[in-house]
Amino acid sequence: MFIEAYLLASLLSLVNGQKVDCYPAKIFLHPGQDRQTVVITRTGDSGVTGEVLNGAKFTTVPPGLVEVKEGIAFARKNGEGKLVVELDGKTIGIPCVVKGMDLPVPPVSYSRDVLPILTRAGCNAGKCHGAAAGKDGFRLSLFGFDPEGDLFRLVEEIPNRRVNLADPAGSLLITKALGEVPHTGGKKIEKGSEFHQLLVRWIAEGGKNDPAGLAKPVAIHVGPPALVLEAGAQKHRIGVTADYSDGTTRDVTHLCAFYSSNDGAATVGQSGEISPVQRGEAFILARFATLTGGSSVIVRPANSQFRFPSVQANNYIDELVHSRLARLHIAPSELCSDSEFLRRLAIDLVGKLPEPDEITAFESDKDPQKRAKIVDRLVNRPEFQDIWIMRFAEMLQIRTANGTSPKGIGRYHDWLRSRVQAGASIDQVIREVLTATGGTFEKPAANYYQTETTPATLAENVAQVFCGMRIQCAQCHNHPFDRWTMDDYYGFTAFFAQVGYKQAADPREITIFNRGEGEIEHPLGNKAVTPRYLGDKDLSAGSTDRRELLATWLTSKDNPFLSRNLANVIWSHFLGKGIVEPVDDVRISNPPSNPELLDALGTKLANYRFDVRKLAIDICNSRTYQLSGVKNQSNKLDSSNFASAAVRRVRAEVLLDCISQVTLANSKFPGRPDGSRAVELLDGRSTNHFLTTFGRSTRETPCACEVKLEPTLSQALHLLNGENTTGKINQGGRVKKALQAGKKPRAVADELYMACLARRPSAGESAKIDEMLSKSKNIPEDLEDLFWALLNSREFIFNH
């Protein structure tokens, strides 16, 4: 979508077998816009791009329309024609319009010029005057989200000091920025520079706000949108063009602030020049006014002789992953073994380990489709639903909070379980949750409105959980690294402004209803805010329950937010990492590692009517999912393009269930029937020491980060000393039972290996086991020690 939205990449030609792209696709110069950054990019057979800065010749038809100097076209006379780029004997024409050269130079604009300069110079950054309390007695709104307030503080708060109309050049705004007087921030602009002149001219012209109705920027485009550079190669510029509300465009490259997401791969200068450093990927973020855009950059090793290996693509997933890997010059790992696959699949799909006899049968199965068959079998087991009920419960933050009673939470969880088991898709569940009306006992989905109760938090959670977007920043200021403004934030919050709460009949119960009245006030101006979908315009809700409108919009098949986000969540569950990572931090400055793959998965999920089972089958059948965790030379540094299997620590609930499973010892959880599994725990707050230690989500926030998968020392100590290893080994008595059933000690050892690690002991391990058994004075005890060691092995607690 990002690339589709980019309007400039229209000039394509082949010059000496190489593809040449020119940016922008069209030049439009007019008063207030007398320049245009022109970027000529050449793409070779290898896919590597490079900027042609000096090798091209620029002329215009008719002649003299513009003059191109150092890659920037300047207007010279009115007219309409073409900018002709001549390169290696070939020419390309870029439509070019120049108007208004005979008109007087327009006054400097506060919003078009002054505020972007302040942002570009960093004056309104969070560490400077954009801090909540300002800096050194002068406060600006963070990144200029409050232009009116900033103008007041610049001009009126202390008259004739920061802006001195009688002595524009002597204004503190100027002298501080030039570093001519003591300034904590130091020198921010050069004396005599364009910025300096514009600021002085603005003050000289009265230091005024813009006249009402002045066109505002509505979008920016960065070109080229994607680059493949070789490490250490020459710099490559990007240009930024803004669209204004009156339909005009403007080159704002010189007014943008640029940031690189990965300086190790590529850095960016303040004029938008990208320097490739070493192999890797980076996203170059450009920010102008309240708008953000960017360009993704791949940096390959210089002079790479890489050839993508010939590997089979099992389905569309593999095709898109392989395509990406080929561009990155990364080869995928080999396929994993059958036992590795089965263990990985069982943990991911049903939260259990395969039983030894299942492993043996699978390994000996000669059917080439056996992997697909086992996937089909496992996704149809009830435990598959348990896993996703748990995941949804995390997304819905099902926990006792804000006075929710255990009964309400129990009913909420039971409702979710019954809906999933009845075949309800995620979008249906979300719709029922968002529009829930009634008592939290009688309509359990209404508990969603009790676990969080403020419109702001509800809106933030919906955005984060269902759209994967964190809009919290925009509560206080426009999002610095994303598109969301305060108007977006409060417009989205307004969907929850009329949620009513009242005590229900049971003292533990709350009734949720649509009040049909009540508004959210925008903190800037204190005016009632009209509901607005994310990325959309204000809408008229009338008397309709606003939550109905929101649910309809959110779960619409055409709304990419939900489907892509949920597809990403599902992908992350199986691959250990999201295509956008973290999964709930979708933003312009955190682009997907494989946008085409994310789009495809999102479209598939929407077409599957949000049936997780079907997408899980696609994913598990892909070669990408079935890769080995052993890396090769080309992918050893890669962690985001799914070139090898990610080794993941098994999440807390599943790990505890696996320990219970292999030790044959059930866990007992408060308020749950005997034999319940940890994945069935209904309340985020009902936990035990093991689950806490291993990072079970408390569901306090919608953040995906609540599930902690990082190994810690306390986890190791818990397994070494805790009741859940030794205690369960004793409680279940697996070893003793096997010996009593007549199994030979060595067979018992093999069974333990198969149960815990889904494999037999290696030759080296076998030798040690034989030696131990031959010297053993207490076979059961020594076998239990072996069992304990297996449970403490990394191979057991990781999914690989």
């Binding site: 009306t437 009634g438 229900a504 009949a505 049971d506 003292p507 009734t511 649509n514 308020g671």
Partner: protein
């Protein structure tokens, strides 16, 4: 030897007069018996070894025999008459030392079966025969399984009473499985039975069906008792219309899952309010009641076809569909407040009502959502006769065939009732009047009044022989009235449940009665899941106490902004010399007293100082104090004084505050000019001692004596050289007086202050008076702004 005998005699005397505490009960098991049968309750608690009686709040059950197991266990054999009312029977156990807290048992129509240990799975389900009432205790995490054999097509109703037993928090959940083990229905809460589960279904096949009963969250406890009614009886989920006029025959319908069944109910002529009715059908009588309203409102049934109804009227309807709004019209008398009371949730309807009153011009004149409970209520005063339109809808926009309601509209009537305020929340502490033989005890009755502004007076009837009660009226605006219960010395140890009658002299002819809500199962915060309403006050007579208390009637008045020292005499019987705490539980408004005054070991007299704040109103009161002593480890014995007259009068003398300035080492000179009504000033006795209170440290506290007819009090108080510099406020002058041996005090000059300057720092004005801070600043400014020479 003689000495030893005397000592032993004293010990014996002490033992016979020591009072133990009343019995305390925890549970009565089983919680259910079949009506018309003899049954035995096992009561557990403490101090149960000397049972005397059972005080039943409802008729139909009598005590047959006590069998004491030990001090904490008592078996009680009871006999139920065949016509005993079904449902809960609250009672108290009485011993010689008083009456216990409330417990209750239930009478069921059908045979009672006891749960057998071990029915913890479907395979071990306990067989039961329909119809029956199974009773047991559901421990934490337990699931009790029962098996019932049904024929294909046979209907089965299973109704659990968990919370309604009033024993413990038990939120029941029911599941019924067919012979194959398949879950056929489950039930949790219902609008009619609240947290108690009610399930019904029709058997699709012959065979053994199983019923699983558990707590909704697998909770439970050793005391969590339940009654499980199992049978094929008629169990209406609601009645519509759900009310009528007393003495009339109500033609209504009972609705169960199969639809409506016409029912005719003869409403008791003397009834007013909400009454339970057990409806019967061809399949048998419902094991639990439905509720019906009996009032004088004229019934109107939806849709209203007649002209606007005259008040009082009761509108009966059903919000049958989602978003449905029902409307009714009625006329009023202008200026007469009209009360609208919704009866829906309280009768077992799922309706979450909202009511709106619309004037003829379409304006909304009043709206009501939840009132004191989940049903809507409002009061409005119409300016015209109307007609007005009443609209009824569901707050959630829900509706359905069971969303029935009755709205009672009538002119707002005054209301009056009396109760015993509880000293502790969610507790039955001190809910029984315990009168010692030959002694008195104070109780405070609370009065709930609406629309009344007079003096409320309470009378008791049915008191134990030899016991009398005298109560002081509750004045307008005061909700508490002290009452003194007194037992003659020759009274027998006894107990009774006594009706009370309360009247208000501003509304002759109106009376109210005693209504006490006793919490049985409490929920979060102050919420109550199960309570029992009592209409009689429990009064017991217990053995004589080894002490009594007398309050000496004061001859001196309690002056507004003054104090009065009351003399309290502790009369000790030989052998008792323990400490006695004296309290004044009931004080006039704006009068304070210490929380307690302790008469120490052997002490026979204490002073209780009453303080009348400046806002106190001059008035005459009847006043009493109460003494309490810990006679043994099990409780507190209380004994009150008689009422004595207490007069609060206006101040005798008054004086304004003084602002005095003195230097360290100097003299602080206070001068209070006393003014007052000549007649009242003349009442000032001779020999008044005047004392300044709240003086800062290191300022001499030198009282002075006010001469007869003195109009001024002068204090000259030396300030030490290190007296604390600064302004010290809140100084007041106390005029201490005596009248016929009663000490009383008048405060004057309240809010006076003393500013202490360091030596030499005080500026003296031209009039020789020390200057205030402001005056000093003015002088300083005047000096600085004057032209320099």
């Amino acid at each position: 030897m003689i000495h030893k005998l005397v000592t032993m005699a004293m010990l014996f005397l002490a033992v016979t007069t020591v009072m133990a505490a009343p019995p305390s009960v925890e549970s009565a098991d089983p919680v259910c018996a079949q009506v018309g049968q003899n049954f035995t309750l096992t009561i557990t608690g403490s101090r149960l070894s000397k049972p005397a009686d059972i005080l039943f709040y409802r008729p139909g059950v009598r005590l047959s025999k006590f069998t004491t197991v030990d001090d904490s266990t008592l078996k009680v054999e009871l006999v139920s008459s065949p016509d005993a009312p079904l449902g809960a029977h609250p009672f108290r156990l009485r011993t010689e030392m008083g009456a216990s807290e409330i417990l209750q048992f239930h009478l069921a129509l059908n045979p009672v079966i006891y749960q057998k240990t071990g029915n913890s799975s479907a395979a071990k389900a306990q067989p039961v025969t329909c119809p029956c009432a199974v009773t047991g205790n559901l421990g934490e995490g337990e699931v009790h399984w029962y098996a019932v054999t049904l024929a294909k097509g046979q209907s089965l109703v299973v109704e659990a009473e968990g919370m309604r037993t009033g024993t413990a928090f038990l939120d029941t959940h029911l599941e019924i499985r067919d012979p194959s083990g398949k879950l056929v229905t489950q039930a949790d809460d219902s609008p009619l039975t609240r947290q108690d589960a009610l399930a019904e279904f029709k058997a699709a096949s012959d065979g053994k069906h199983t019923i699983a009963l558990r707590d909704s969250n697998l909770g439970g406890s050793d005391n969590a008792s339940y009654i499980l009614h199992v049978g094929s009886f008629f169990r209406p989920l609601f009645m519509h219309p759900a009310g009528g006029k007393p003495g009339f025959t109500l033609k209504t319908n009972g609705y169960d899952s199969t639809g409506a069944r016409p029912v005719e109910l003869k409403l008791p002529a003397g009834a007013q309010g909400t009454i339970p009715v057990w409806l019967a059908g061809p399949d048998g009588q419902s094991p639990c009641p439905n509720l019906v309203r009996v009032t004088n409102h004229e019934p109107v049934l939806e849709p209203q076809s007649t002209p606007p109804a005259a008040l009082p009227a009761a509108f009966h309807g059903i919000v049958a569909k989602p978003d449905e709004v029902d409307s009714y019209r009625f006329t009023t008398r202008p200026g007469k407040p009209v009360a609208v009371q919704m009866w829906a949730w309280r009768l077992g309807s799922p309706l979450d009502s909202v009511v709106e009153l619309i004037a003829e011009d379409g304006t909304v004149v009043a709206t009501g959502d939840d009132g004191d409970d989940h049903d809507s209520q409002l009061v409005f005063t119409p300016r015209t006769a109307g007609p007005f339109t009443l609209r009824v809808r569901d707050q959630r926009g829900q509706g359905g065939p069971g969303f029935f309601y009755r709205v009672e509209i009538g002119e707002d009537q005054p209301h009056l009732e009396v109760f015993l305020p509880r000293p502790n929340r969610l507790s039955q502490t001190r809910q029984v009047i315990v009168v010692p033989k030959g002694g008195r005890v104070l109780a405070g009755f609370g009065v709930r009044r609406s629309g009344l502004e007079g003096y409320a007076q309470t009378e008791a009837s049915g008191l134990p022989a030899g016991v009398s009660m005298s109560s002081q009226p509750a004045r307008p605006g005061i909700y508490i009235m002290p009452a003194l219960f007194e037992a003659r010395a020759d009274t027998l140890l006894a107990g009774a449940l006594c009706p009370l009658k309360v009247t208000d002299n501003s509304y002759p002819g109106l009376s109210g009665s005693f209504r006490q809500v006793v919490d049985l199962v409490a929920g979060p915060a102050d919420s109550i899941y199960q309570a029992v309403e009592l209409d009689k006050l429990a009064v017991t007579v217990v053995p004589e106490l080894p002490f009594s208390v007398d309050l000496v009637a004061p001859k001196a008045p309690l002056l507004v902004d003054g104090q009065l020292y009351l003399k309290v005499m502790i009369n000790r019987k030989p052998g008792f010399d323990g400490p006695v705490e004296v309290t004044a539980p009931f004080l006039p408004p704006w009068v304070e007293a210490p929380e307690k005054v302790l008469a120490g070991k052997g002490q026979n007299e204490v002073n209780l100082v009453l303080t009348a704040l400046p806002d106190a109103e001059p008035a005459s009161w009847q006043f009493a104090v109460q003494g309490s002593a810990e006679l043994d480890a099990s409780g507190t014995a209380r004994c009150a004084s008689r009422f004595v007259p207490l007069t609060i009068t206006k101040p005798l003398l008054q004086s304004g505050p003084q602002e005095v300035i003195a230097e360290q080492g100097g003299i602080a000179r206070f001068r209070f000019d006393l003014a007052g009504d000549p007649e009242r000033s003349a009442l000032v006795p001779v020999g008044v001692t005047c004392r300044l209170l709240e003086l800062p440290p290191r300022v001499a506290d030198l009282p002075v004596t006010l001469q007869t007819s003195g109009k001024r009090v002068d204090f000259s108080l030396p300030v030490e050289t290190d007296g604390p510099v600064g302004t010290h406020g809140n100084i007041v002058c106390a005029l201490e007086m005596n009248l016929a041996g009663d000490k009383f005090v008048q405060y004057v000059g309240r809010g006076s202050s003393l500013r202490i300057d360091s030596k030499g720092a005080t500026s003296i004005g031209p009039d020789g008076r020390p200057l205030s801070r402001l005056e000093q600043l003015r002088v300083k400014k005047a000096k600085s702004s004057s032209p320099k020479p």
